[in-house]
Amino acid sequence: MGETLLPQTLFLAMVGGYAATAAALVVPQSPRLSRWVGAAGSTIGASAGLALAAAVLVTGTPFVAQAPGILTPAGGLLLSLDRLGALFLAVLSGVAIPASVFGLGYTAGYGGRYSLGWMAFNTGGFLLAMSLVVCAANVITLVLAWELMALASYFLVVTEHDDPAVTRAGVWYAAMTHAGLLAILAAFFLLGAASGSTGWSFGELRSASPSLSPVVRNAVFLLALAGFGSKAGLVPLHIWLPRAHPAAPSHVSALMSGAMVKLGLYGILRVGLDLLGVGPLWWGTVVIGLGAASALVGVLYALVDDDLKRLLAYSTVENVGLVCLGIGAGMVFRSLGDLEASALAFTAALLHVINHAAFKGTLFLAVGSIVHATGTRDMNRLGGLARRMPWTTPVFLVGALGLAALPPLNGFVSEWLLFQSFLPGVASSRASIAVLLTLGVGTLALAGGLAAATCVKAFGISCLAIPRSSRAEAAHDAPGSMRAGMVALALACPALAVFTIPLLRTVTSVLGELMAVPGAWPPPNAGFTVQAPGVDARMSPVAILVVLVGVLAGVWLAVRLLASRRRRTGETWGCGRIVQTPRMQYTATAFAEPLRRVFDELYRPADDLIVDVHPDSRYFIQGIEYRSRLPRWFMRFLYGPVVQAVVWAATRTRTLQSGSVNLYLAYIVAVLVVLLGLTIGF
């Protein structure tokens, strides 16, 4: 017994827990029971997964398991959880536990309309598949787990399958995820075939890759970047994300945004950092470019969207972009041979992966609770929730402040590290890199500023002021299980900021396994201060938190003791109008209007303004009608032609479908004959 068997036990507990959700399928007559079975199975599985990840991260010995008997021709199933995988396993399990607890109460709303057993089973399968993706150690295992993940998440996205918008989102999601899968397959086939290995295990690929021709390596990198990038939501492959995330149930959205999207980044790191080793300079440059584009496009669209969940989905695109800025900078420095700067940039990227999972998970759960209470995601129909939902709104605020990267929460820490990691690059002797990274700093800052505006819009419009609809007026706070789930995840945000140093140690150990990291960083006596190596900048999240809380308490006490305490209720000033109505408030659209006008060359909005004037004099206006749409020109210019081509090809091939069984049999025979002929011919 003892240490050697512990990982095995944990792994079995994880798989067992997730598999147990299948039991929810056999109790269809009791929705209550299936909810409990699903939540319990997922929670147990995720807890075991978290423990397994922690064990691997602490000890550093990878957990290995194999089943060579299954699918032998393709190399058999091979699992090996190293530190990089364990980090992502920890992130996804960490989000999965509160999301599952939240789901227990949240899914109650689906009872009677959709099969709760099916949903619980798919959630378990989804979590299991994601956990297996990070454990996979050869191509066939990875691809199988990846596809399982895609399927399970597809079924979850189309939960509300009677809504045409949801099924459309499902089609986009399925199409994009499979196009991505094709690219990943192509990348691995190229790499595997060129490496000449038999089992296509990651170990063999890793040792073979440095000797491959640059053309193959470049092709593999680009294909993997496209394939994994489409899962991560990198621009321009992000279009499924703002459709699928809002369609899925909220706790699943939290999982998709906090965990699944991160697996795309895991894939990019696994291939670009681990399997292919050091690449040419332009790889990193491409990743920085895509990251900057994603960050800006993501935050700009998040800013103008009025659908709360779609806003969060776009913000996920932004944060994936930020992580890619870090990854790209790390790759650039690695190519230039500056390992210290490289390690700092990768650390910042990985830290942001963890932090984003925490605050975005929190936000999706909070929004889930709002949707649960009001039945709408449209911000222009919300408002006044802060007085009605005393649990949800503080949680929402914590997540939103994390999203805006404000101190003292965790989002700030990783954004700060990202800034610092760009500084040594600006000092680089290469003018092109210096210029690129200077623009990168500008992008990072602009994205940060716009994220703050988005945070104010998301929280301020939907939670504050006067309710804009009767549903919002009658809102009530969430039941206990939902509260527990979201509060737990919200508490993780300040906690992750406080425990930055241990977190950095873990991330550095992950990097140490993948690449030579010079020196021990952070220094052993760091205390609570983060010191960026190479740039000599210091910052302590703990001290900021303590000082801020101390000063706040002091000010509060002083005001309480010294200032007047008289208070009176008086109506909001409305230029003399006595009754304040919700129509007099700023709407979500209006809030974002100035920024929309500033960036209208990017949005290219289609505005119609119809002013209906009195027939006698044009100075008397009878009515004004204003309509504004933001055409999604990504859709029109990039995907429009592709969709048209696919539809064209599909109509052409439709003639094959006659409905006659004999003809179908004839096709089979014909194919058989052709194949036989080819075999004989060779």
Binding site: G449, R538, Q580
Partner: protein
């Protein structure tokens, strides 16, 4: 760095900033009035204003939630923490190891976010308008600030204020370097935008459609309004100290010797008076920009920041 006494000095200078901030704003108002051939209110008028507000009762809208009550404290607290960071007389101080320029900028952003939320909470149209505009300006000024910080960091090798100031104190000619000069202009524009001065926002306007800061605090009264006003004055003070002591840190002390401290304090005060006069002259000379010209002004500041960063890495 000077552990025990350092902390005491740190807190003392923060309180000093808090005490002097209303006077600085009063001074700007007075100079402006004189320039416009008006008598002008005395320089200590803002203190009287605070005193009056702290004694008055608070009027709270029936639509306001807990955010309305929390916001003034967060705005004031975050700005006060920022004032702990800036070197007023002596550098580096203990808090220098805790936070750097980026932290400072994001702490100010925290204050701005809560101010905007407080503006939205009572459900007034003006509050929403002010919040929306304030966030627009705050978001767009961020890149310029980051690039200005970048160019300072390029010269001094660190983003911590202590290092930046110490580096310029050691080499006074560096203040003439183009990276510094351009970054100063860039940051000065941002300062005007962030502290709601002309040509971005008119601090003395009460015309509802043109105001930004005033619109957000429209629903606040009594001690809450006092906190918000004081915080905004403190923010102006902090920006002025930053502009004078990061870019022209001559006279700044690097030890705790009383004589050096006194000299440093005196030079800082002189620099602040000069800067206040400059702001007052500028506010008298220029007209308020249309709201949609403001992003263009911030783009100018961004270009200056780019230039500053570029010339500091070219001259390394």
């Amino acid at each position: 760095m000077f552990r025990g006494p350092g902390v005491a000095i740190e807190i003392a200078q923060s309180l000093l900033a808090l005490m002097l901030a209303p006077a600085l704003v009063g001074l700007v108002r007075w100079i402006k009035a004189r320039l416009q051939s008006r008598q002008g209110a005395p320089v200590w008028m803002p203190y009287a204003q605070l005193r009056r507000l702290f004694r008055k009762q608070v009027v709270v809208s029936p639509h306001a939630s807990w955010v309305f009550h929390v916001a003034p404290f967060v705005v004031f607290g975050a700005t006060l923490v920022v004032s702990l960071l800036v070197p007023i007389a002596v550098t580096p101080l203990p808090f220098n190891d805790v936070a750097d320029l980026f932290t400072l900028v994001y702490l100010l952003m925290l204050a701005t976010v809560f101010l905007a939320l407080g503006g939205l909470d009572p459900g007034s149209a003006f509050g929403g308008m002010g919040s929306s505009r304030e966030m627009t300006i705050a978001a767009l000024s961020e890149p310029a600030v980051a690039l200005a910080i970048l160019s300072l960091a390029m010269v001094s090798g660190s983003t911590n204020l202590g290092e930046i100031a110490a580096r310029t104190v050691a080499d006074p000619a560096a203040a003439l370097s183009p990276g510094y000069a351009l970054a100063f202009v860039s940051l000065f524009i941002v300062m005007l935008a962030e502290t709601g001065r002309l040509p971005v926002d008119n601090p003395s306007t009460h015309l509802e459609l043109t105001m930004i800061h005033e619109a957000m605090v429209l629903e606040y009264s009594g001690p809450y309004l006092a906190l918000l006003e004081w915080a905004s004055w403190l923010k102006f003070f902090v920006f002025c100290v930053l502009a004078s002591n990061l870019f022209v840190p001559w006279g700044l002390s690097t030890s705790l010797e009383p004589g050096a401290l006194a000299v440093a304090l005196a030079t800082t005060l002189i620099k602040l008076v000069v800067l206040a006069a400059a702001v007052a002259v500028l506010e008298t000379r220029v007209a308020k920009l249309r709201l949609f010209r403001v992003p263009e002004l911030l783009a100018v500041s961004f270009v200056l920041g780019l230039l500053a960063a570029a010339s500091s890495f070219a001259l390394r």
